[in-house]
Amino acid sequence: MRGRTARYRSKLRIIADILTVINEEGGAAGPTRILYGANLSHERMMRYLAEMEEKGLVRRVELEERWVRYEITDRGRRLLREMRKMEEFLRAFGLEI
């Protein structure tokens, strides 16, 4: 089941949720805020953040020892803007990432 009756989020939707949380926090957010905002387990969130950092969607900033924040990049902001189009494109074809 997908679309309006979806019971799970696609990978693209989770990435968008993480970016939305960071964006709403003024462009940078700590792991705890992202974890609650995007409703993810710690392990999953770290996996997603690592992948998003690799793809240039977020930037990891170490402020002090053991204090880390994630900043949204320009590409991340553009992805957030194009999100609806991307989801609609994939939904039309019945594909999912």
């Binding site: 089941m1 997908r2 679309g3 693209l12 990435i15 793809k55 240039g56 590409r75 553009r78 992805l79 194009e82 609806r84 189009k85 991307m86 609609e88 494109f89 994939l90 939904r91 039309a92 074809f93 019945g94 594909l95 999912e96 990432i97």
Partner: protein
């Protein structure tokens, strides 16, 4: 006369279809540049090859037709047969890659006449050379713009799979865009049936091209709707 009419129709429609495929390719590239997801790369590659195949075949066949008075008949036939082979390979690869994408990234759901092929056609060339261009049989004309019924059959099998997947998606989503995409692949598959049968019944070649054009126009509507989302 018959050849000219056929190739001009085929070329014009293929250029229009190729442009739609290139537009899809551009959108997939735009999404890939942002998300860096392999699925978008696969869609980009698939529609790029399909678009290039259609554009190259459409434009080059038109050029060959314009140069026809200056070409010897065997050269004319060989040029068109080579272009037809290029198009068939591009289509088989593009649709094959798209089918692979569905096996890997498909959203989870609950709910001829072989004797008229390459060798016989090449063997026909001396006979064609001996006769005036406008006296070519209609079936031979189809053989100039479509390579081989077996290759068309392979593409048909891939398109049937894609039509099945997109129709399943529409039945699950019940929305306009999934409907248009399923309509598009259903018409592409139907067009391919007509292309295969056109080797025996030439009039189906026109039907095939009309169906294929409708399929690409349907895809164009989806793209416009996505861009405006």
């Amino acid at each position: 006369m018959m050849i000219g009419w056929f190739i001009m129709l085929s070329s014009t429609l293929e250029v229009v279809e190729g442009l739609v495929a290139m537009l899809t390719c551009y959108l997939a590239l735009r999404f890939y540049s942002l998300a860096r997801e392999r699925l978008f790369l696969a869609l980009f590659t698939s529609f790029l090859i399909l678009g290039l195949g259609l554009l190259i075949h459409g434009l080059a066949a038109g050029v060959v037709l314009l140069m026809a008075p200056r070409l010897r008949l065997p050269t004319f036939v060989l040029a068109l047969r080579s272009l037809a082979l290029t198009l068939s390979i591009c289509e088989a690869f593009a649709y094959g890659l798209l089918a692979y994408s569905y096996t890997r990234y498909g959203a989870p759901r609950h709910g001829g006449q072989a004797g008229q092929g390459v060798l016989p056609s090449l063997m026909l060339m001396p006979a064609l050379a001996a006769s005036p261009t406008n006296s070519m049989g209609q079936e031979v004309v189809v053989g100039l713009v479509r390579f081989h019924p077996l290759l068309e059959g392979l593409i048909l099998a891939i398109l049937a799979y894609l039509a099945f997947k997109t129709i399943s998606n529409f039945l699950s989503e019940k929305d306009v865009n999934p409907f248009l995409v399923s309509f598009s692949f259903l018409f592409l598959a139907a067009a391919r049936v007509c292309f295969v049968l056109a080797f025996s019944l030439t009039i189906l070649y026109i039907t095939a091209h009309v169906l294929q054009l409708l399929a690409f126009l349907s895809l164009l509507i989806v793209l416009l709707r996505v861009v405006r989302a």
